[in-house]
C-alpha cells in the first residue's frame, strides 16, 4: 500500500467519525428525544432490546398527545443531566424525584407517581427498630438514598442500580436494601419470593417527575398540561394499573 492510499483511507475514516457525530447532534424538531437510564424496573428497563416501563409509557403517551414522534436514548445516570443541559435530549424520564436543591438547576413536572412507599427488604427479617450497626444498601440519588441519608446509626452503602443492590443483599454483603415497593415487587417476580421479607417505611413515598432543562418553560408548560389531562381522564391510572403501581 502506498502513502497516498493510506492518507485517503485515513481521511475517509476521519470523515466517517464526523458523520457519526453529525447524526448524533442533529435533531429533528418534530421528534421528542427522551433520556433514560433503563436499569430501574418497573419504571424504565430493557426487555430484550426494547426499553419499556411505566416512565417510558408515560413519556410515549405525552408524545402521542402532543402529536410528536418520540425516541429514547438510554445512558448511564451520570450522563443524563449533561445531555439535558446541552440540549441533546428534550426531557428525562428516569424515575427522578424533585427536591429543592435540584430545582435550582433543572425544572420538574408535577409528580405523575406518588404513594409508592419505600420498603426495607431483608433476607433475615430484621425489625425496623434493630437496624443499629447493620449495613444497608440504597441506590445513589434515589428517594431511598435521600431518606436514609437523614438517619444514622447504620452503615449506608450507595450502589448505582437496583441489580447491584439486590446482588449485594443476596451475597450477604449487606443486611438490607431500602427502595420503593414497586422495585421490590418487580424483583421478587423473578425470585424465590418467600425467602425475602419486606416492611414499608411509614410516611415515605417514591415520586416520579419528568425533568426538563431550566430555561425550557414553553415545553414544560405544554407537557404539564398533557400530564394533567392524562391524570384527569384516567390514563395515568390505567398505566399505573398496567405496571401494578
Amino acid at each position: 500500500m502506498n502513502k497516498k492510499t493510506i492518507f485517503i483511507a485515513l481521511g475517509l475514516a476521519i470523515l466517517l467519525l464526523f458523520q457519526h457525530y453529525y447524526y448524533q447532534v442533529k435533531k429533528d424538531d418534530q421528534e421528542l428525544i427522551v433520556g433514560t437510564n433503563a436499569e430501574f424496573p418497573p419504571f424504565t428497563f430493557r426487555s430484550g432490546q426494547e426499553i419499556i416501563g411505566f416512565d417510558i409509557d408515560v413519556a410515549k403517551e405525552v408524545a402521542i398527545r402532543m402529536g410528536r414522534e418520540i425516541s429514547f436514548k438510554d445512558m448511564p445516570f451520570e450522563a443524563l443531566l449533561p445531555e439535558l443541559i446541552l440540549n441533546h435530549v428534550d426531557f428525562l424520564a428516569a424515575g427522578m424525584s424533585a427536591t429543592e436543591e435540584r430545582a435550582k438547576r433543572v425544572s420538574f413536572t408535577k409528580p405523575y407517581l406518588a404513594g409508592d412507599p419505600l420498603v426495607l427488604l431483608t433476607l433475615a427479617d430484621i425489625p425496623l427498630n434493630s437496624l443499629e450497626g447493620k449495613s444497608i444498601v440504597v441506590n445513589e440519588g434515589y428517594t431511598a438514598d435521600l431518606y436514609m441519608s437523614t438517619k444514622s446509626g447504620f452503615d449506608l452503602v450507595r450502589l448505582n442500580a437496583p441489580a447491584d443492590a439486590f446482588l449485594a443483599l443476596k451475597n450477604g454483603r449487606v443486611d438490607a436494601f431500602v427502595t420503593s415497593q414497586s422495585t421490590v415487587r418487580a424483583f421478587l417476580d423473578t425470585q424465590e419470593a418467600s425467602a425475602y421479607h419486606y416492611i414499608p417505611l411509614d410516611g415515605t413515598s417514591e415520586t416520579c417527575c419528568l425533568v426538563l432543562a431550566k430555561n425550557n418553560l414553553a415545553l414544560l408548560e405544554e407537557i404539564q398540561q398533557v400530564l394533567d389531562e392524562m391524570e384527569k381522564d384516567g390514563t395515568l391510572q390505567q398505566l399505573k394499573n398496567k405496571w401494578k403501581l
Binding site: I85, K104, R105, G141, L159, G172, R173
Partner: protein, 219 residues
C-alpha cells in the same frame, strides 16, 4: 454553568474522598510493588513452571478490565466464603492488577542489566539471590523508575473505580453530590482539578527521585 458556591461548599466532603483515594492508591501501590517484584524475580529464574505461572498471572490481570476484577472480588468471592470489606476489596484488586504491570517494568529492568555482571558475581561466589538483591535489583529499579512513575499515576486515577462497589473515594463523593444537586459540570471540574493536582505531585516526586538516583551513579 459553573457554580463556584457549590464547589466551595463541597470541599469538605471532596477532601474526605481524597483521603480515601490516596489510601487505596497507597495500599495498591505497596502491594503492587512488593508482589510485582516477586513476580519479576520468578519470571527471570530458570524454573520453568514458575515462569509459566507468572505468565498466566500477567496475562489474566492485564487481559481483563480492572473494573471487572473489582466487581469479581466484591460480588463473586463471597460465593466462595471470602467476604472482603469494600475498601480492602478495591485496594487488593487494584494492587493485584498493578502487580502484573509492575512485574513487567521490573523484568525489563532486570533484563537491562548486562549478562557480564551475573557472570562476574558467580565467579566471586555469590549466590543467585545475593546477586539479585545486591547487584541486579538496585539497577533494575533505576531502569524501571520512569515506568513505575507512570504506574503510580495510573493507580491514582484507577482508584476511582472503587466507586462501583460503594467505596466513598473522591469520584464517589463527587457523584453523590451530583445526584443531590443535579449539577453535572461544577463538581466534575473540581474533581478533575483535584486528580490533576494529585497526579502532578506524584510525577514531580518521581522526577526528583529519578534525578537523585542518576546523580548518585554518575557523579
Amino acid at each position: 454553568m459553573i457554580d463556584f458556591d457549590l464547589i466551595w461548599n463541597s470541599v469538605p466532603s471532596l477532601l474526605q474522598g481524597v483521603i480515601l483515594s490516596l489510601q487505596i492508591s497507597f495500599l495498591a501501590a505497596s502491594l503492587g510493588l512488593v508482589f510485582g517484584t516477586f513476580l519479576a524475580l520468578a519470571e527471570t529464574t530458570k524454573v520453568t513452571p514458575l515462569n509459566y505461572a507468572v505468565i498466566a498471572y500477567v496475562t489474566f490481570f492485564r487481559g481483563t478490565p480492572m473494573l471487572v476484577q473489582i466487581l469479581f472480588v466484591y460480588y463473586v468471592l463471597p460465593q466462595f466464603g471470602l467476604m472482603i470489606p469494600p475498601f480492602w476489596a478495591a485496594s487488593i484488586a487494584i494492587g493485584l492488577n498493578s502487580a502484573a504491570y509492575i512485574s513487567q517494568s521490573i523484568r525489563s529492568g532486570i533484563n537491562a542489566v548486562p549478562k557480564g555482571q551475573f557472570e562476574a558475581a558467580k565467579t566471586l561466589g555469590l549466590s543467585h539471590w545475593t546477586t539479585m538483591r545486591a547487584i541486579v535489583l538496585p539497577q533494575a529499579f533505576r531502569v524501571a523508575l520512569p515506568a513505575l512513575g507512570n504506574e503510580f499515576i495510573t493507580l491514582i486515577k484507577d482508584s476511582s473505580l472503587a466507586s462501583v462497589i460503594g467505596v466513598m473515594e473522591l469520584s464517589k463523593e463527587a457523584s453523590i453530590i451530583r445526584s443531590r444537586t443535579y449539577d453535572p459540570f461544577s463538581i466534575l471540574l473540581a474533581v478533575s482539578f483535584i486528580y490533576l493536582t494529585l497526579t502532578g505531585v506524584v510525577s514531580l516526586l518521581m522526577n526528583k527521585i529519578e534525578k537523585g538516583v542518576k546523580a548518585d551513579v554518575y557523579s
